[in-house]
Amino acid sequence: MPAFPDAARAALADTQLRHNLAHATRTIRDKRAGVVAEVPEWEELRLAGAAVKDRALHDLEAQLLRLEETLVAHGATVHWARDAAEANAVVVDVARAHGVDEVVKVKSMATQEIGLNEALAEAGVAAWETDLAELIVQLGDDLPSHILVPAIHRNRAEIREIFLRRMAQVGRPAPTDLTDEPAVLAEAAREHLREKFLRATMAVSGANFAVAETGTLVVLESEGNGRMCLTLPEVLVSVVGIEKVVPTWAELDPLLRLLPRSSTGERMNPYTSTWSGVSSGDGPQEVHVVLLDNGRTRALADAVGRQALRCIRCSACLNVCPVYERVGGHAYGSVYPGPIGAILNPLLRGTGDPQTDSLPFASSLCGACFEACPVRIDIPEVLVHLRSRVVDGHRGDRVPKPEALAMRAASYVFGDHRRLAAVERTSGLAGRVLRKLGRKTLPGGRPAVEHLPGPAAAWTGARDLATPPEESFRTWWDRTDGGRR
C-alpha cells in the first residue's frame, strides 16, 4: 500500500469518486446534525459515553475475565487471540469441525481487520457478507471505503452493473430486468441473500458491545440481515475486540443513544440484537467468542493514544472530515479509514512503517472530527502526539530528512529574535528578487509569484504566493517607533 499522499493523489484524480463521496457525506452529515440537535443534553451524553468506555478500559483485565466467566456460564466457549492469525485459526477450526464449506457473516470491522474472509477462503470455506453494502463491496471484488457505508464510493448505476455481472456466479442471479431504483436493488439483494440464510449452518459475527456483568453480546444494524445470521444457523462464532467490553448492562444506555444518531442519523437503531451463550431449542446451539487483541494492548499502553479505544465505530468523524470527503477510504490503506483510521492504525500496528507513518499527517488538524465524536476522542491531540512519535523514531537517522533539518534551523532561528530579524532581512531581499521574476499581482495590488522551484513547487503547483515584503513588522516598529515617528 502506498503512503497516504500518493494514494490520495490517485483517488483525487477519480472525479466520479469525489462526486459520490461529496454527495454521500453531505447527506449523512446533515442528517446527523439534525438529530443531534434534537438532544439538548448531547454534551452530557457524550461525557457519559466516554466515561463508560474509560471505566472499562482502565480496568480491562478484570472486565474481560468477568466477561469470560459470564459467557462460559451461559454455555459459550471463549477463545483468546493475540493476533489475526490466532483469531482466524479459531474460526477455521470451528468450520472444519462442522465440515461446512460456507458461512454467512454479519457486518463486522474486527473480522475485516484480521482478514478472516481470506483466511476462510484459503481453508476452502466461502464467507458471504450479508450486509447490503458489504455485499456490494464483496461482489464488486472491492475494498470497503467507509466504516458504516462500505460502498459509499459506488453509485446506483455501478451497483446495478455489479449485481448483474456477479450475482449469478455465486448464487441466485439478479433478475434480468434489474433497474437502478434503490428498492429494486434492495429486493434483488434480499432474494440473493435469503437463499444463503436458509442454507448456512454456521455464522460469523462481531459485536458492538460485550457486557461483562451479564455476558451479553450486542449487535446494532439497520437491515435485519444480521439478526438472520444470529438466529438461523446452528453454530455462531463472534470475533470481538477486547476494547468492546462494557462493565454493566445499565452502562449500555448512553452508548445505545449516542451510536444511532452519530452514525446513521437515526433516533433509534432499527435492529438491536443481544445474545448470551446458548439457549436450548432457540438460536445457535454452539456459540464461540473470540476475544481479539491484535494491537489493542499496544494502543492501551500509549497514554495519549489509548482514548482511541473508546471508539464505537460510528463513522461520524469520517463524514465530517474534509480530507476523507475528498480522497475516500482506500487511501488510508486499512479497514479503518478517515480520522479514526489515521490514529488507530499507527496505534494498533505501531509506527515505523512508511505507510502507517504517513497517516498521522493525513489531516489538516481542523478539529471537525473531535467535535463530532460521540465519545469525545480528541483526534487532533492524538494526531499531533503520533506525529511526534514518527518524528522521534527518526531522531537517530544517520542522514536526517530535509524536513528535520529545516525544523532544526527554524528552532534555532525562533530561539532568539535577533536571529529571526536577520532571516527576515534575507527574505525581504528574496522578495525583491521574486517580485522581479514574478510579474503577477494579487487582487489588492500585492506582488506574487506563480512558479517556484524545489520544495516550494508543492505550494505553487496550484496556488500563487505573495512575495515577502521588503520590511518586516518588527523592522517597521523599530524604524517608526510603532508608527509614532
Binding site: P5, L12, V323, F361, A362, G415, P443, W459, A462
Partner: protein, 243 residues
C-alpha cells in the same frame, strides 16, 4: 492594563500590514499596545509537524517576551490557540519545571483579536468604515480550538458601509493546515478549491478571515483562478475608517 501585541511569525515576515492594522485599531480604542521585541513564533509549525523538542526555544522566547504583560493579543486564531493549548504540552515534555511555570503564567493571558475586542474591551462597534461586499471565513482553530463563535461576525456587522454575505459551508476547513499544505499538497488544493468556489459564488469583493495563513492559501488559489476576489485580514477591515 499593559497590552502586548503577539504579531506571529507569519504576519511579521509576510503580512506586516496586519500587525500595523492591529496597532491602529487598538490605539483608536484607547489601548496603548506594546510590541515586545523578544518575541519570535508560537512554535506551532514545529509542534504540529511533530517536532516537539524543536518548539522549546520558541516557547521559551515567548514566555520571556510576554511574562510582564496583562494581556497578549494575537491577530491569528491558530497561533493564539497554540499559545493557549500547546505550550503546556511542549513545556511538560521538555521536563523544565521553570518553563512549565512560565507557560502557566502566559498561556491564559493570550487572546485572539476578536476575543480581545469583544470580551476584554467590550466593543463590537470599533468605528470602522469599509464600503464593500464581504464574506467571512471562520478559520478552524478560531472556531474549534478557541471557540470564538460569532464574535468576528458581530464586529463585521457593525462596520459602516460593509455588506456581509453568507459563505456556503463556511465551517469547513480550507485545507491549509500548516505543513499539511506541502506534505499533502494535492488534498490541500482540492479542499481549498472548493472553498474558493464557495467564495466566488457569494459574489463578494473581499474574503475576510482572522488568520493570514488560511488567507494566503485561499487567496493563492483565488488569484491562480483569476477570480478578482481580494483577501484581507479581519484587523485590516476593522482598522479602516472614513478618512
Amino acid at each position: 492594563m499593559r497590552v502586548a501585541l503577539m504579531v506571529t511569525c507569519v504576519n511579521d515576515a509576510m503580512f506586516p500590514e496586519t500587525g500595523k492594522a492591529v496597532v491602529t485599531l487598538l490605539r483608536r480604542l484607547g489601548v496603548d499596545v506594546e510590541f515586545p521585541a523578544g518575541q519570535t513564533c508560537c512554535g506551532q509549525p514545529m509542534v504540529n509537524t511533530g517536532y516537539l523538542d524543536e518548539a522549546v526555544p520558541a516557547v521559551r522566547a515567548f514566555t520571556a517576551a510576554f511574562a510582564e504583560y496583562d494581556a497578549i493579543v494575537a491577530p491569528s486564531g491558530s497561533c493564539a490557540g497554540s499559545a493557549r493549548h500547546q505550550h503546556a504540552l511542549v513545556a511538560r515534555r521538555s521536563g523544565d519545571r521553570t518553563l512549565e511555570e512560565a507557560v502557566a503564567g502566559t498561556s491564559p493571558k493570550v487572546h485572539e483579536l476578536s476575543e480581545f475586542l469583544v470580551d476584554v474591551l467590550g466593543a463590537t462597534d470599533v468605528g470602522a468604515y469599509f464600503p464593500h461586499r464581504v464574506t467571512y471565513h471562520p478559520t478552524c482553530h478560531s472556531l474549534r480550538m478557541l471557540g470564538v463563535g460569532d464574535r468576528p461576525r458581530r464586529l463585521l456587522e457593525q462596520v459602516r458601509g460593509l455588506e456581509l454575505v453568507d459563505l456556503t459551508s463556511a465551517d469547513e476547513c480550507c485545507g491549509f493546515g500548516g505543513t499539511f499544505a506541502m506534505k499533502n499538497a494535492d488534498t490541500s488544493v482540492a479542499m481549498g478549491s472548493d472553498k474558493a468556489r464557495h467564495v466566488r459564488d457569494t459574489g463578494a469583493e473581499v474574503l475576510v478571515a482572522g488568520d493570514n495563513s488560511c488567507l494566503m492559501h485561499i487567496g493563492g488559489l483565488l488569484s491562480r483562478q483569476r477570480s478578482g476576489v481580494r483577501v484581507m485580514h479581519l484587523a485590516e477591515v476593522l482598522a479602516g475608517t472614513e478618512r
